[in-house]
Amino acid sequence: MLHTIKEVFRSPKFTIGLAIFVVMLLVVFIYPLIITDDPLDIIGLGTFFEPGIYVNLYDGLESKTYVLKLEDAAANRIASKLGEQERLDIQEYLLLAGVPEEEIDIEDTEKLLELWLNNYDPTVRFPGSTSAKRKYYARLDASLDGLLSTEAAIIAVKNEETGELEEKSLVKQDDYVNVSKVANVRVLPLGTDNFGRDMLTELVSATGVSLRIGLIAGLVATSIGLTLGLLSGYIGGWVDDVIMFITNLFIVIPSFVLLVLISYSIGQEQRGASTVAIVIGFTSWVWTARAVRAQVISLRHRDHVNLSKLSGHSVAHIIIFDILPYIASYVVMAFILQISSGILAEAGLSILGLGPKTTDVPTLGLMMNWAMIYSAHIMGKWWAYFPVIVVIALISFSLNLMNTGLDQVFNPTLRD
């Protein structure tokens, strides 16, 4: 027994799988201790804020300023407004406006802007230009306004009595603030989702909930499957017939359809994460039951079982001590796979909108569902769904890797 456990930990596949899994578990347990925010808190007013460091502008203005003379500062400022694509668009407009092609040099920013200012006329409609295109040029024109100016920006406060603006401070172009000196900085490594929640906090919490769902579903499925398989395989006769009848019924009804129907009939308000997990477990025990039954049938006429009978042991004792240890490795492997398929089933259910209720806790499936409903995949907001997919894949991958590793230890013919 001890030897087998040592063998299991010597298997590279199992250890890698376990390591990934343990790292995920650690993150799930430790992250909430550090970041204590409620994962469902809506912090962003707007949808899908990009990943990045968010610095409070007001506090930034109030902070101590440093002057840094950096040569590429102006170029960077222009490049952020006037990129490669914008330059090409300007060229296109200028050609339409009748500027000769040889006069336009899109590399020369100053000249290009001068041409633009002289030729752009928001009232002119070129044949074939759509209204979207015209609006785009209007926006571009606005953003280019004052791009080349070297003036300082004035921060003014409104005088409440006279209603006049009074200059408070100047922000020069080479003024800098130190981010660590700014009072309010929020890092959103994965941005926000469609509701404006911090994606990372939500993702960590969802991973924990999904793992719990997988664990409960796996426990339910494995215990139902194991109990039925043991009874049906060992006792045989009419007990076997009845149990196999039920099992075969569950096999011919696709379990996912059953899952959808049961989830639908429970109703959105009653569906907590645990309820969904139990429903998933209840629909996925079938293959465990069949496999356990087959193994028990091959075991029940072995000599050690006969000897145990002759030693006066009861059916329960024989099943627990003479049959179960022999199929334990298989049951553990089936359990691991059930956890992984439970997590996937929850994701599938939630994408259809039949997952746990949305006001309680996030799950990986719900996050996918939200991303899908708010068209994150169409709008290119990758941070709303891609990290979720990666986490689901990692959980599945690590559990399957552990399963393969165990299989190789318990089934020496599979060793390479």
Binding site: R302, N306, K309, L310, G312, Y326
Partner: protein, 270 residues
């Protein structure tokens, strides 16, 4: 009370069918068998002749599809767990393959303690139980101190089969079914084990049913020999009648297949 005129165990028209339809095979076909108290009988037959199936039916591990079984003159009733337990106090077995006979997750102590418990001595103090286990082990030339807390698979095949005899020593049954107990053991251990088993038989006076394909063994240990072919007893009688003067072709072939039957086969010197 045992009926004096009836044999200890009697089977009439015992049959076992496997499968159904065209696949149906008759593993044991209308076998009559009677076991008297203290006798040693041998059932000889090829592989697949139904010996083991018959043994399991005698033991009550599988139920016959035809025929009746009497134990101590009364129809055998093993319908409930308690009745089975009472029956198995009287009838025990040693199986062919010692490596698969033990649960690999159970320690040797547990195996022997189960026997003590089955004899109704489960409440004895621990020292007394250890004494009994040590006695049983020393009977089969094993040292209990070396075996305690070990697993059966840590022993050699011969040691495991001796442990099986120690089990029987503790269980003290009326009938022992020895199903090819030496076929997986090397020649040296074989004689030792048979020797120990016969010594145990003399000690507790049980009936022994040897099941074997070894005609030599049948000749030298048994009071009565049954030859089994395709689920039927084709010949029976004392070893002299059956083996030295075989009548049927099958029996003749079985005997001629044995490479050599020694004129004298002294168990203690082989």
């Amino acid at each position: 009370m045992p009926n004096q005129t009836e044999p200890l165990f009697k089977a009439v028209g015992l049959s076992k069918e496997f499968g159904f339809g065209r696949q149906k095979t008759l593993a044991v076909n209308q076998v009559d068998l009677a076991l008297e108290e203290g006798e040693v009988i041998t059932i000889v037959g090829e592989s697949g002749s139904g010996k083991t199936t018959l043994a399991k039916m005698i033991l009550g591990l599988i139920s016959p599809t035809g025929g009746e079984v009497f134990f101590r003159g009364e129809p055998r009733d093993i319908s409930t767990y308690r009745k089975k337990l009472a029956y198995w106090k009287n009838i025990q077995a040693i199986f062919q393959d010692p490596y698969s006979s033990f649960n690999i997750f159970t320690k040797i102590d547990t195996v022997l303690l189960d026997c003590i418990r089955m004899r109704g001595n489960g409440n004895l103090p621990r020292e007394k139980k250890r004494e009994m286990m040590a006695e049983a082990c020393s009977f089969v030339n094993l040292k209990f101190e070396e075996l305690t807390n070990k697993y059966p698979f840590e022993l050699s095949g011969g040691q495991m089969q001796r442990l099986m005899i120690a089990r029987i020593f503790l269980l003290d049954p009326k009938i022992l079914i020895a199903d090819e107990i030496t076929s997986m053991i090397d020649a040296c251990s074989r004689a030792t084990i048979l020797d120990m088993l016969m010594e145990l038989r003399d000690k507790i006076g049980m009936t022994v049913v040897f099941i074997t394909h070894d005609v030599g063994l049948a000749y030298y240990v048994s009071d009565k020999v049954y030859i089994m072919e395709h689920g039927k007893f084709v010949e029976s009688g004392t070893p002299d009648e059956v083996i030295l003067n075989p009548k049927g072709d099958y029996t003749k072939r079985l005997i001629s297949d044995v490479p050599k039957i020694y004129e004298e086969w002294d168990l203690s010197t082989v």
